[in-house]
Symmetry: C2
Subunit: 192 residues, 2 copies
Amino acid sequence: MQLNKIVEFHKALGDLTRIRIIALLKQGPLNGQAIAETLGLKPPTITHHMTKLREVGLIKERRDKNTIYFSLNTKILEMSAKGILSVGTGGDAKMEMSVTEEERSAIINNFFTKDGKLKNYPAQRKKKLVVLAHMIKGLEFGKVYQEKEINEYLKHYHEDYATLRRELIMCQYMYRENNQYELNPVELWWLS
Amino acid sequence: MQLNKIVEFHKALGDLTRIRIIALLKQGPLNGQAIAETLGLKPPTITHHMTKLREVGLIKERRDKNTIYFSLNTKILEMSAKGILSVGTGGDAKMEMSVTEEERSAIINNFFTKDGKLKNYPAQRKKKLVVLAHMIKGLEFGKVYQEKEINEYLKHYHEDYATLRRELIMCQYMYRENNQYELNPVELWWLS
DNA sequence: TATCTAATTAGATACTAATCGAATCCGATT
DNA sequence: AATCGGATTCGATTAGTATCTAATTAGATA
């Protein structure tokens, strides 16, 4: 159950001080004392907030001598931005919200064989999303996958793993950075 | 300053009970008592949470006799999802995070005449975003615009208002629902 | 009007989280 | 080794918030 991950993520952003910190860091890396000074707070307070932000993966840090420079993990921000729902560019977005459980299992039954192979890839966006959501269930949350691993995994569903892999990215179920793949953390819950 | 709007929004989602409520409502409308029962909580607690969710616009309600049926405001969910950042589909997304103030004003100067007209529309995504962000400054936050109004407004910048209007949607500065337009509420801060 | 049902308000309690001062840690420099 | 600068840990205080019970409101029905 990753409900708690969602909660923690939003808690991290649900505090004015932390939002101000993020706003600051958007302009560039800063060390703790500098942040404390500009916000009119004491260093321990900043440490406290940085811990929270770090826990949800929102910041990166780089050490230089004694000072630690914090910066935003833009990737996570992007993800959270796109994540919450996997919405397209408008249009049929609302449909995605309202997939009933019956519809879902009907789609699964239609597109997968009894032994779990994907018969063919749906064209309709809504069905795509259901099918993709189903396939990633075997992937681990928070784990970083090599492209080869992803291919291996997807091949169990269909020989055209390349298409599936591309679609996972397009529909934002996963994201890629220098050929490493990861499940989109925020995404999952809203669709499961 | 809409920093607080952002904070309140995330606070609303930063609570396990409320996330569970949202998860429930995703499957369809429910009245308070039903929610209370399935979550093992008392009605006043639900009222409390519904108030918070309502304050950030996450739920709609419909009254039928004595019972009030709550449902999700999917539009806001979509918005919050797309909002946080206006990121593209990957690629140059990171650049968008790091527009310095100098860059920004350089771009503004390059693409607008002294009297504020748009000379031409940039092709580069980063510049697009800056230009669009600049143009919407005259629009009101939370107000619903008719297509005609938007056209009128954009015509002041460039005669090809249709392109601009489309781009505002594409880059998610605004969203449209049955030909009414509205500024994307979550968007703004992260770019300002 | 009396009654029933569902929702809300008010007040109390317990829990959680933000902030700070003091003490400590940990690298780097002397 | 001693010291310095920055970050962190610890403990205490305070502010905020989730939850409950009891009382109240509001609409519908008898």
